[in-house]
């Protein structure tokens, strides 16, 4: 009876981790970007994919978003197979990256309205006004998105990413190119938002202090593979270092054939 009404399926997806990646591989003709990646991200936590350039962080995020098809492996997002049922999951997740601007010629409000419509939100105007107030972007809602400063663009991108109240928020370098004050503001906002909503955040970052502050779980990546994982404190203790940045440098240089330590 329960199965007939799809209730068991619903319970199963609710109980599943926010992200479950199993033996994920992405090969390009001349490179292996992700090589047998497996990890899970528990619901209601903030986790980070950490690694140097070319570690496979953005590739992994792109696969989780359904923007990129993997060569092999299984990816479950919010209990659904993203490769087979991405349209069941996409309304429940969102994404923000400072490297992908919103269209420049439209005003901030127009951009947000269009995305609100794409997510099929009712009461779009109200939702936009509420987010604009929370993220302090009300003053430039009518300004073209291309004429904003980096800090303003980041807050607008965050507003777009929170429009649909996502259960899973994927962030690529959320505070890249921001001054320390604005970056701190964004981190505080994300902390408060996650605590309030119980949502899950998975971020790719190079900023170790940010990861130490926000994340309870860190996946250290190198050349498309996981080289270690754990809480920031556990990693720092395990490697006997003072902070996560030293752990990162240790791992990055440990087996690196390309980069010699700076003398």
């Amino acid at each position: 009876m329960l199965a007939e009404y799809g209730v068991t399926s619903h319970i199963r997806t609710m109980a599943a981790p926010a992200v479950k990646v199993d033996n994920l591989v992405k090969c390009y003709p001349n490179a292996v970007a992700v090589d047998g990646l497996s990890f899970t991200v528990a619901r209601g936590t903030t986790a980070a994919l950490l690694g140097g350039n070319g570690a496979g962080k953005t590739t992994t995020l792109s696969i989780l978003l359904g923007l990129l098809l993997p060569t092999s492996g299984k990816v479950q997002v919010l209990g659904e197979d993203i490769l087979r049922h991405r349209y069941r999951v996409l309304p429940r997740m969102n994404f923000s990256s400072p490297f992908v601007d919103l269209p420049h010629r439209l005003t901030v409000r127009q951009n947000l309205l269009i995305y609100a419509r794409l997510y099929g939100l009712p009461d779009r105007g109200e939702r936009i006004d509420q987010l604009a107030s929370d993220l302090q972007i009300s003053a430039f809602l009518e300004r073209p998105a291309g004429k904003l400063s980096a800090g303003q663009k980041t807050r607008v991108a965050l507003a777009k990413a929170l429009l649909n109240d996502p259960e899973l928020l994927l962030l690529d370098e959320p505070t890249a190119s921001l001054d320390p004050d604005t970056a701190d503001w964004v981190r505080s906002y994300l902390e408060a938002w996650r605590a309030r909503t119980g949502a899950t955040i998975l971020m790719a970052s190079h900023n170790m202090s940010e990861v130490e502050r926000l994340c309870s779980d860190v996946v250290m990546m190198k050349a498309g593979r996981i080289v270690d994982r754990g809480s920031p404190k556990a990693l720092i203790d395990r490697y006997g270092r003072a902070n996560l940045e030293e752990v990162f440098l240790h791992i990055a240089r440990e087996t690196s054939a390309e980069l010699e330590p700076v003398k």
Binding site: Y28, T58, T59, S62, L65, G66, L67, L68, L69, Y87, L90, P91, M93, N94, F95, S97, V100, D101, L102, P103, H104, R105, L106, Q110, L113, I114, Y115, R117, L118, Y119, G120, P144, K160
Partner: protein, 269 residues
């Protein structure tokens, strides 16, 4: 089911709204839409006035050149209208944002097709209306056949536009120039201003493989003899269907391939 359809229509409307906002945000772009069809109509209108007393061909039907140039613009603007809206997303590097929303590729395509109709109408209606006081010629006098010609050319423009967009998705922005040029390679064998019989025999086979040729032959039949050739219409529609399927397949295969290559996030200038 009905809820899904409504949601889908909402997303198509969202994308259409985006292109309308873009059009509204730049008056030079809106002006550009009107400028070229009007200029073409002026040139060919004066040419028709001149040829009306100097050529037996135009004497038989004053509007034969004017109608041809306006209908040709339906094909050109139909293709360009679709490709331009597509290119807006490339220039804005917006595919990475769009396709992490519930927007389906076919819904995006539907919004591109709708925008193509709007751009064609915005470009052509003023030119067609201006021809009435200037040359005492109304293309609307053709009546229902005009609707059929319009539809056939628009669908052909869509097929061509989809194939070009697919090529840009596959090859990147290096192929952008095709959006403006490809349609002109079809102009000589579409027989816009002259009958198919003018072409050498071997080229006539190629001409009859294009829906546009049937339209322009049909247009001349209506203007010269007052006869609407239904056989031409059905031939053109059948070819349209084939080309539209081919164009759509090229687009969706290229889109899937872009997802495989990871190009949706990187695609742009």
């Amino acid at each position: 089911m009905t809820r899904d359809l409504c949601a889908s229509a909402g997303r198509v409307w969202a994308m259409l709204l985006r292109y309308l906002y873009l059009l509204r945000s730049s008056w030079p772009r809106t002006l550009e839409l009107l400028y070229w069809p009007t200029l073409q109509m002026l040139i060919w209108g004066f040419m028709s006035k001149f040829l009306y007393v100097n050529s037996s061909y135009v004497f038989r039907a004053f509007g034969v050149l004017l109608a041809a140039v306006m209908l040709w613009d339906v094909l050109f603007r139909g293709q360009l209208g679709l490709s331009m809206s597509f290119l807006e997303e490339m220039w804005a590097r917006n595919l990475g944002h769009l396709f992490v929303t519930p927007l389906r590729p076919h819904e995006w395509v539907l919004s591109l097709l709708s925008m193509s109709v709007i751009r064609v109408l915005l470009g052509l209606l003023p030119a067609a209306l201006l021809a009435i006081p200037l040359y005492h010629y109304s293309i609307f006098a053709m009546g229902l056949p005009l609707v059929a010609f319009f539809a056939v050319l628009l669908i052909m423009g869509w097929a061509l536009g989809l194939a070009i967009c697919g090529l840009i998705l596959r090859q990147g922005m290096g192929a952008e120039g095709l959006a403006w040029t490809v349609v002109f390679t079809l102009s000589p064998i579409s027989c816009v201003y002259y009958p198919v019989s003018t072409l050498p025999g071997w080229l006539q086979y190629a001409a009859w493989a294009l829906p546009s040729t049937y339209v322009f032959e049909g247009m001349r039949a209506v203007l010269f003899t007052g006869v609407f050739r239904a056989d031409y219409l059905f031939g053109a529609l059948a070819l349209d269907l084939v080309y539209l399927v081919l164009g759509a397949v090229a687009f969706f295969v290229a889109f899937h391939d872009a997802r495989r290559r990871g190009a949706l996030l990187q695609m742009g200038e």
